[in-house]
């Protein structure tokens, strides 16, 4: 097999950065270096985000083969188009959008997903509280934890997705709005607040 169309050899595409240098670079610069054809930067991106992409993608379908396949398609596509890709402020949320788009497209083709108001995969974005958590100082901690877990299961999958993005993936509301297809940031806030309101009833019943 021939390698992908080799990018132009320029100083930028050949420059070697250390791990530390990459970590200090803003996402825009890392992305720009990738777009200029720097293969070391591509490796860095793959190494850093492959595992996150996989666990995020898995939430839509629970099918690791499909997610792996979609990851491969996404990376091939990005490399093919690298010269024409625009600026990217956050590589992680950009890649999340790509993998999500690819997976949803495939699920729709199979007819197991509708236009995404609600993911039909029952376990989509299941959240659990880690068991070591100390919620309140009482004997019924374990029971409380179970109740919260149940309340989390009752949320809509989109609400859980927003919570995961907010807490686990540490994304801002504007990134969440972007990934979840809201034109306004306040819609993402609303989604989260509605979820929190239902959780609060279980955590601190009034």
């Amino acid at each position: 097999m021939k390698p992908l169309k080799s990018p132009k050899i320029t100083a930028a595409s050949q420059r070697r950065y250390s791990e530390k240098e990459y970590q200090d670079m803003p996402d825009e610069s890392v992305w720009e270096s990738f777009c200029l054809g720097n293969e070391a930067t591509f490796s860095y991106i793959y190494k850093n985000f492959a595992s996150d992409l996989f666990s995020y993608g898995f939430q839509f379908c629970g099918d690791s083969h499909l997610v792996e396949d979609c990851m491969q398609n996404v990376f091939i596509y990005l490399r093919k188009k690298r010269e024409n890709l625009g600026q990217v402020k956050s590589i992680k949320s950009y890649l999340f959008k790509c993998i999500q788009y690819e997976i949803i497209k495939r699920l729709k083709e199979r007819g197991v997903l509708v236009d995404t108001n609600e993911y039909q995969y029952k376990k989509a974005f299941s959240i659990a509280l880690s068991p070591e958590t100390i919620m309140i100082e009482s004997e019924s901690q374990e029971q409380k934890r179970m109740m919260i877990n149940q309340a989390l299961d009752q949320l809509t999958s989109r609400q859980r997705q927003a919570l995961i993005l907010l807490y686990e993936e540490e994304m801002s509301y504007s990134e969440i709005a972007d990934i979840m297809g809201f034109s306004e940031v306040k819609s993402a806030r609303k989604l989260v607040y509605r979820a929190l309101a239902s959780l609060k009833e279980v955590i601190n019943p009034s």
Binding site: H65, L129, I148
Partner: protein, 353 residues
């Protein structure tokens, strides 16, 4: 200083859920050594009474995580990377095109199909239920989508493979999978339809774009003719109407949910003949004005109605027609409203007497 004072005031009034939803607070909890630490450490010493709430919020934020988080296997990690590096260059405009601007597939997959009502009625349940049940989705061949579309003047009845019967009104379009998957029965509706859903364990979902109606086994009517405006009327059973923000309303029998153009939601009772009479071929006018009458007649009979500008729009016409011809309906209107009419093929003229 001023600025800080404001912050303290604001956070002082926070309840648990406010902390849980606050981006600045979350980023401190996740990175306690970051830039916001100076603020929060001081804030907590200033607001000891809130410390329990803060601790609770922090614990929840830290402990929420994926329930199912499989690791990408070493084998897959290596394979994907290698395949990506070795992938052949694909010429522009061919192959696996993707854009970073997701677009709806509905528009592209379904061409415009005009199908006569006769054929629609013949279309019947030949789909054999697949009893092979899988727990997790597996790779399946892409399914074929069926499109049923009625122009003005045509109504049809569709019997689906699962036993569900759908009356599709004129100027309406229903799209569904040739064979429903094991997990879900999904149909997409533009326009109006009456559903008699067969209970079979799988949820039945009517997709209306931004809103969805979910049912288990029930009879109900859905109308959505333009973006934003919507009505769902439940005859029996139980349905759930939900939107993209997670809002949801559960309807009880004989309740109707209406959303108008402004997005205002109302829940009322309804007159069965008025709302679902159409499926039994009952054309009903209830204090209808000129515009409503013309709209109804042109949809119902698939005709173009021209109206003499001299005719005033001060009608409040009521009338009920059971499977009547266009001629008879116009005769009734003529008598009550003192106008005249002319039928010329697919054209109707209303004339001032």
């Amino acid at each position: 200083m001023d600025n800080k004072q404001k912050y303290i005031l604001k956070y002082k009034d926070y309840e648990l859920e406010d902390f849980l939803g606050d981006g600045y607070f979350i980023s401190w909890v996740k990175n306690p050594n970051g830039n916001s630490n100076h603020f929060w450490e001081r804030w907590i010493t200033e607001n000891v009474d809130k410390s329990e709430t803060v601790m609770q919020a922090a614990t929840i934020i830290r402990s929420m995580t994926y329930k199912n988080k499989p690791e990408l296997s070493n084998k897959a990690y290596v394979e994907i990377f290698e395949n990506v590096l070795k992938s052949e260059p694909v010429s522009e405009g061919k192959g696996n095109e993707k854009s970073s601007h997701p677009t709806s597939i509905w528009g592209t997959i379904f061409g415009f199909h005009k199908i006569a009502a006769a054929i629609l009625l013949i279309f019947c349940a030949w789909i054999i239920l697949d009893t092979y049940v899988v727990k997790e989705p597996v790779e399946l061949a892409p399914q074929k989508w069926e499109v049923r579309e009625n122009p003005a003047g045509i109504k049809s009845t569709i019997k689906m493979g699962d036993g569900t019967v759908v009356n599709l009104n004129s100027n309406s379009k229903l799209t569904f999978l040739e064979k429903f998957p094991d997990s879900l029965r999904l149909v997409k509706l533009e326009g109006e339809a009456f559903f008699d859903v067969q209970k079979d364990g799988r949820p039945f979902l009517v997709d209306l774009g931004k809103t969805q109606v979910e049912v288990m086994g029930t009879t109900f009517n859905v109308e959505k003719r333009q973006e934003g405006k919507l009505s769902v009327a439940l005859v029996s059973g139980k349905v759930k109407v939900k939107d993209e923000l997670g809002n949801q309303v559960i309807l009880k029998p004989m309740e109707m949910l209406k959303i108008n153009e402004k997005g205002e939601v109302s829940l009322t009772s309804f007159d069965t003949t008025e709302i679902i009479g159409w499926k039994d071929k009952i054309l009903l006018f209830k204090n209808s004005n000129k515009t409503e009458i013309i709209q109804k007649i042109s949809d119902w009979y698939g005709v173009e109605v021209q109206c003499d500008p001299k005719i005033k729009d001060n009608w409040a016409y009521s009338g009920e027609y059971h499977n009547e011809s266009l001629e008879n309906v116009l005769k009734g209107i003529k008598r009550t409203l003192n106008i005249d009419y002319n039928i010329n093929g697919k054209k109707v003229d209303l004339i001032q007497k």
